[in-house]
Amino acid sequence: MERIHWVRHRWQQLVATESGRGRYSAPAALPTKSSPVLHNTQQLTGKRRTVIARHGPYQHEYHSISKGCQGNGIRTTKYSLLSFIPMNLFQQFHRVANLYFLFLVMLNWIPVVEAFQKEITMIPLVVVLIVIAIKDALEDYRRYRFDQKVNNNIATVYSGKQQMYVDQCWQDVHVGDFVRLSCNEIIPADMLLLYSSDPHGVCYIETANLDGETNLKQRQVVRDLPQQGSELTPENFHSYIECENPNNDLSRFRGYMEYPSKARVGLHNNNLLLRSCTIRNTETVIGIVVYAGHETKAMKNNSGPRYKRSKLERRLNVDVLWSVVLLVIMCLTAAIGHGLWLRNQKEASFLIPDTTSPALSGFYLFWTMIIVLQVLIPISLYVSIEIVKLGQIFFIQNDIDFYNEYLDSRIQCRALNITEDLGQIQYVFSDKTGTLTENKMVFRRCTIAGVEYPHEENARRLEVYEQEEDEAKGRSHTLKSRASAKSLSCKSLSCNRSSVSLHTLTGHSEGEGEESPSPILPRHSAFSSPMEKDVVPDPLLVQKLNCLSSPLFLLRDASMELTYIVDFFMALAICNTVVVSSPNQPRHVVQVPEVSCTPLKSLEDIKMLFQRFGLPRFSTLSPPHTTKSPRSFTRRLFARGKAASFTPSPSPTPTKRGQPHEEEGEHGSWKGEEDKMLHLNPGAWSGLENSNGAQGPPGEPRADELIYEAESPDEAALVHMARAYRCTLQGRSLERLLVELPGMGSMAVRLLHILPFDSTRKRMSVGADSVIMDLAESPKGAEQSDGRQGHIREQTQKHLDNYAREGLRTLCIAKKVLEEEEYEVWLKRQAFAETSIENREELLLESAQRLETNLTLLGATGIVDRLQEEVPETIEALQRAGVKVWVLTGDKQETAINIACACKLLRSTDQLLTANCGSKEACKALLLELRAEVESGEAAEGTSGFTLVVDGRTLDFALQEDLKGDFLELSRRCRAVICCRSTPLQKSQVVRLVRDQLRVMTLAIGDGANDVSMIQVADVGIGISGQEGMQAVMSSDFAISRFKHLRKLLLVHGHWCYTRLANMILYFFYKNVMYVNLLFWYQFFCGFSGSVMTNSWVLIFFNLLFTSAPPLLYGILDKDVSADTLIKLPELYKSGQYSKAYLPSTFWLTMLDALYQSLVCFFVPYLAYAGSDVDMLSFGSPINASALLIILLHQVIESHTLTWLHALVLVGSALFYFSFTLVFSVVCVTCSPPTNPLGVDKLQMSQPLFYGVCALTTVLALLPRFLFHALRNSISPSDTLKAALMDQFNPDDYCRKMQRWNQTQAQSKARGLVINVEDSDIKIPDFILPKELKECSAATGSVLS
């Protein structure tokens, strides 16, 4: 299966590179040009599509409107049966290599330059064409079969004739068709949701087929449809739909529907059902098709594989050009030689009478020689490289070390032609969250109303998990080392403290689209590990909650705190988008039943009761609130809110981002949730020992069995935490949440509005029941709370600083009580914002900000995002390998530094340089100052290196044209650079800057949508298929599941791939030059006439068959050092960084060796046969045979490993050659004139002289290289060779040597330090954490990664 994929990808690359992206990028042609004037939007028809029901009332218009729309059938095949041969040939001749072959074939048809028989020069071309054509035909057939399967899927479509829904194939679905789908059916085309059996008009879809995310997404029926339910038939469907033309933006869909009443309703992404998603949890849905077939978003997104050109290939192209130069020189020599020779010849019997002048003959001969010496241009090299890379990728993909048990995933190689770049990486740019860390959020501690609850038990629990892990791995640096990292001291140079921006939210997901941050993992691995679910409650907090239930609890002050606490937990349980489901029915969202049979308490009730202090327990409860609620916050209102929640968030720009937060900072900078007054009476706290399930209504799934699925792991962590305190989120429907509170049983909370998280606001807000205002409305109370707020804010801030220093992700919880009128006013403006089409995003932002002010701080939480396993080891290995590791994160500076410490990026001996600037001038000064410091520091001894920490703002300045030189100069001297608070754009800018200015090989690794740009810019992009969706993976070249895999990928596979390919390429050049020169030398003895002493079949096959397999095997399987040693000695990686295996000098040395070998291979037989009665072919026979032996044995010398496969192929090649020539010399009676081989080789191989010559030639030709290797390896062995030698020791010796190596490496580093100023390994004793950092962490935010 995998293999077929590559072949396909490979093929697409081979053929479709020039013709765009092949099939998948279907034409963006827009069909609606011809649409009739139905609306006053005619001027926009070029950009829009109009859809009406196919069998609806406007059938006559339907055809003209939908004329340009594609059907739903898909055709991903390239060819049809008829067009295969011409199309395929046409495609193939887009390749330069094939054109070259074709050119040679053409050349051979010109009589005056003809070198061989016409059919012989065609062989290489024909072979290549046929091989690729067969591959392509098979591939295309497979695609065809697949298309057939997809196209013949059955969907239920409304038929105009039968007036009912009938089964139809997918391919017969058209735009404007009504399609009815049931649960678990796959959506056949992009459709607008018009009807759902769900009473709220929602349906859930699973987009796993589209983006790999397995969580459910909600879709909403188009608002205010005039007909509902059963009425909804095409005949009655009088509405027009205007929407965008097909595009590939999965998260955006805009348009409106115009009802017969001329009312317009906006259409959004959450009205759209995307092709190839699956309907879940909804019995029946009906939709109208708006995009079909290749116009669906799914198909538009199906882009082909990536094509990158590797560094080695660029280098290779230079050498191919050199080969061309060499070829031209050789041909010119022959041409001139021929002209001169011809001029000196008088009339001779061997000269065929000819009137052409010598000059003209020379000119003709030039072209003849190009045909004769064609092999010099290693055209077969390109095909071979491609095959070798396929082989390398096969082994990378099959590496068991890259297998992740949890995800059942291997490494994915998406770019197939840059394997060797993995061996030359000099800079690694890494994301932090999800890349270095697990992105599994675990609640660690919290602070409520200014009181810290350290959750010591929880911390212990986390450490126990770690220790278990550590035992397995033998090392420990996670939380503990993070704590100890405080002993580090730091020297900070901040020039403008006040300007340090107060962005707080852990921002790894800045800039992510609305739908991106969703866990893609199967539930069992994502959110069900006990690690994340279990939270050990803090005794103090439990005590307080218990005291809530005690009858003595009457003190007002205590009650205030308790109010805070309860509000805090309510907020945790409510302010999220967590979907609750039960494990036995994983796809069943547990919902709040419409008509509740259990006594549900509404917030109103609770609040009422709360007023009557001292009433501890409700045994009897009021009837469900829904009916008696005076508010008219209807479903419609909610729907708008949801619509907003699916609005794509605006891409964050620094200016936008900065402003609101600074403003907010004055108020206290709380990232808050706005809760519309969550007050509840603390019912009798029955203690944590009480069984929770007993209180739940019968039939309700036990709380323990609930599964929370969240868009962001933080949300889930908080919900789990709340549940640990018995504040359990039990179900969710569109309008309300079912929350179980301690001692009170279930309670329904109405949802009014959700302001979803976006990276600009960095917060989300949920509006819940806004019923009671009396408690907060008294001005006196407000004053009181003001004073109290100040204290709480101060305390919480202190705790937050501590959290951040511990490397925790902090979120603040806040609330706000709104008056009814206030809310109504806001709602109107919000509604306006939602419906406006022009600058809707800005309006929504503004509206949200209006609501999210003057919040009351409740508390804050600290969430641990643990490091992934073996991250420190991996980073250490990379650094030892000479790779500079930069961390680019959106996180706070403190968090970033702490993570850097934890993952060994920062060592205790490192000197930390901090750059926080507010203006460009300051930034410039700072850069210079830091540089001076680094330079002075380098002179001193004792520091192991510098680490630069830059924040996003400073980075903005540093990336400007006139400062980037300084910035680079500074960062180049630092061992590591940490960029915090950086935006996705900045990430890619940094990568581009380093890549272009320093001319180094860069690798970017990340897991989220915010890393996509960086991944695309870098030479090698690696995506981590983790918790954050597939964007990073989709744009990456390689996708791995853990950061630790990077170590083996680079150090072992990168090293291997690079050395293998480099050696193979050199070998190819050698082989061609060596062989072709034999023919060239002969020209000196045949009057430069273009004669060859070999049968032309053998000549052509020599490269094509006899010597093609061994280098391929060599390129795929050679191993200079074992994997173990490469892992243990990362220093070996450096040889690839400096391209040691393929330097220009290596190339020319190889050329020289090839020249020498060809001289030997030609002139030894020449001298042995000179003057004898040898004929041409008999002369060529030993030359050919010894050339073959030399070429094969040369490879044995060059190989680092020889397995039975090598032996098989080498011996096989030799046998193949000899048997071929023998058989040919017996069978070929009149074939292949003029070089008729009949009897030649048979006779030659029966003569001892033949073997004498071959033996001597082979030995003499290989002697220098053999000697060179032996001498070099003895006198100055390379590191790689020493490592290879170590491989051969027995295990004990191996360990001993390995230790010594590692010691001496460290020593030599220290020694190098004294001598080499450039080496920046200098130690400065202590460093102090910058004070400024505290200020950085002032602002904190809420939920949603």
């Binding site: 396909r8 087929n209 669906t296 009339e347 001779a348 004898s1172 004498g1252 003499l1260 001496t1304």
Partner: protein
């Protein structure tokens, strides 16, 4: 009661192939790679690391093998007796001077000359008599091509309409040339005879065997007269023309021996096997060893070479020689191979010694080489 009334769905359903599923492996099966030695690249392998220590035995072995072979070859080559006589007639003093001056392809009268020579040593075994040409580029590309193998193989259609490669020696007088092409056209046509001059002055013709000089495969497979075993070659070749430079048609090359006539004439076959280098020799005759084995094949003494001088070479500054040579298992006389073997063997031996020194000097260090990284 909280249980929802929607249909439960199975986990696996989430992986049904959708339109996007082209590249995605939506399979439920375990993707764990096989843990085999091949796939994990752990095949047992021999790792040849060339260091002074490991290669020096090879050098000694090569030296020890090559030197004896070289000596053997050299001795063998030295034992071969060879005599070369240039009879081009460039010098005034040369007996063939006149012939060489006057002769051209167009001459009708044969010119003969006698070249006396003496043998210092007797030639013991079979003696091979070659004619040699210099500066004759039989390997010229256009020359080499200028033949029709089908015609020579007896193909009747090719006989009547030879290959275009033969141009301009394809037709003459509107009749196809047989054998066509430049190679055949330039057939070496000197006749050489050898006489032993007894001490008493009488000339004894030395029997020169003209069969057995061509390759067996050429004679029996590659070259065939048209019309199979039809002895009457005159009829067979009717309608064809002789090559322009030839005096007589192909069916008169050896009228006495039908087995050596026409295309299967061995002199012709030998000529048609184009030489590799511009200076070459071709086997002309064989002088078989005397059956009684008592007297040498060619005893020491005076000889006369009678040349019928037909072949012009002066126009391209060529030379004509005859070579008398015995042969060994290694072929003709060529000291090069022996010397080369001895040289290479000695060099290897010498290098082996150097490597030994290097090994002693660096070998120990090499074991702890990592210290000096």
């Amino acid at each position: 009661m909280m249980a929802s009334n929607y249909n439960a769905s199975k986990e696996e359903d989430g992986h049904q192939p959708g339109a996007m599923g082209h590249g995605g492996a939506g399979t439920v099966k375990n993707k764990k790679p096989d843990n085999t030695a091949f796939k994990q690249q752990r095949l047992p392998a021999w790792q040849p690391i060339l260091t002074a220590g490991t290669v020096l035995p090879a050098f000694f072995v090569i030296g020890l093998i090559f030197i004896p072979i070289g000596i053997g070859l050299f001795v063998t080559s030295n034992n071969i007796k060879e005599l070369e006589i240039d009879y081009t007639g460039v010098d005034m003093s040369s007996p063939c001077y006149n012939c060489s001056q006057s002769y051209s392809w167009n001459s009708t009268k044969p010119c003969t000359c006698s070249v006396p020579f003496s043998l210092d040593q007797p030639f013991e075994s079979n003696v091979f008599m070659y004619y040699g040409l210099s500066n004759f580029y039989q390997n010229h590309r256009r020359y080499v091509k200028s033949r029709d193998d089908s015609q020579l193989n007896g193909d009747k259609t090719s006989l009547k309409s030879p290959s275009k490669e033969c141009e301009p020696y394809r037709t003459s007088d509107n009749k196809p040339i047989a054998p066509c092409g430049a190679i055949a056209n330039s057939l070496f046509n000197d006749t050489l005879e050898l006489y032993y001059i007894d001490p008493n002055g009488s000339r004894t013709a030395i029997p020169l065997v003209k069969k057995g000089i061509a390759w067996w495969t050429d004679k029996h497979v590659k070259f065939r007269n048209p019309g199979g075993n039809n002895d009457n070659l005159t009829v067979v070749f009717q309608g064809t023309s002789k090559p322009v430079n030839w005096r007589k048609p192909v069916y008169e090359l050896d009228p006495l021996d039908p087995d050596n006539n026409g295309f299967i004439n061995e002199d012709f076959i030998v000529w048609m096997r184009t030489a590799a280098l511009p200076t070459f020799r071709k086997l002309y005759r064989i002088i078989h060893k005397k059956p009684n084995n008592m007297t040498p094949t060619l005893p020491r003494g005076e000889y006369i070479l009678e040349v019928t001088y037909n072949y012009p070479v002066r126009s391209f500054e060529g030379r004509k020689r005859i070579i008398l040579s015995t042969i060994s298992w290694m072929g003709g006389k060529n000291p090069f191979l022996g010397i080369a073997y001895i040289t290479v063997g000695s060099v290897c031996f010498f290098l082996g010694i150097i490597l030994l020194i290097i090994h002693h000097k660096y070998g120990n260090r090499n074991n702890s080489a990592e210290i000096h990284s």
